[in-house]
Symmetry: C2
Subunit: 163 residues, 2 copies
């Protein structure tokens, strides 16, 4: 079994646990979408290309279901979302990609990816191979104490209901 197959199984199991714990249904669509993301995407992808790609592989889904499922995948941390502009959302699998920075041209909107640390240090020098840096922003995603607490309570209730 190659490493990608192993990863696909791992994330499937994780999604399974997540759905079971939260009492969400384990529908074929949900697993197909996750598997499609982990087997046929490498870097960034958007909803439209994911939709077309799944249709092309002869898996019928609606866009509504895609959006619904992506929300679950974001919530359980298997997929990460990037917002590059008002109408430019890109997604990315969380595992199996190296962590990277995003270099964005504010004129044409092109996004490049660069290895974290290497770029971060050279940014300080304000100029890296033909790209003129104007500013940079760090976005740190996670869960605040309020939501973390609410989640914990919710989960406790669910587990209790199991007896």
């Amino acid at each position: 079994m190659d490493s990608n197959q192993k990863l696909r199984k791992q994330v499937k199991d994780e999604f399974m646990n997540y759905l079971t714990l939260r009492k969400h249904r384990r529908t074929p669509e949900r697993f197909a979408i996750l598997d499609h993301i982990y087997s046929s995407t490498k870097g960034h992808f958007d909803m439209d290309s994911l939709y077309k790609s799944m249709i092309e592989s002869n898996f019928r889904v609606s866009r509504a279901t895609l959006y619904n499922t992506i929300d679950l995948l974001l919530d359980c941390g298997l997929v990460v979302k990037h917002q590059f502009g008002a109408n430019v959302s890109k997604y990315e699998r969380k595992y199996g990609n190296e962590n990277h920075d995003h270099i964005i041209c504010t004129v044409c909107g092109t996004v490049w990816e660069a290895k974290n640390e290497a770029f971060f240090t050279s940014v300080q020098q304000k100029k890296i191979k033909k790209f003129t840096v104007h500013y940079y922003s760090m976005y740190i995603y996670g869960i605040c104490s309020k939501c973390s607490h609410a989640k914990k309570m919710e989960l406790r209730k669910l587990k209790k209901a199991d007896k």
Copy 2:
């Protein structure tokens, strides 16, 4: 003259130069919008609140003009844009604010600001005062060589036309 008045004059001059050089018209709306941003906003703001705030100060502008002008301000670097979600664009004046990171709760969407370096180091430890970090992304904005070259050509043409 206090430091904010000084800053307002500085950015006005810079905008003036930018508009003149590019042969864009120096309309009262454009200067009013810039001045409003530099005098009545501190941290993040969005277009809707900017619009309402300007109307409240008895300055009539249309949303179309606001968007048009913000594009110019972004282009000349006097304003910076943050995209926190598909429908959450926030803007911020470039000068007169300390540089900061953005801490975003993926559940409720709240955004906190934190001083750059202090947070960056504590992020590595994966947990900062009651906020659980899941991942972080660095976005580096600037101009790629292609657009930079195109801009330079454009500018050269404009200057030449002046004789």
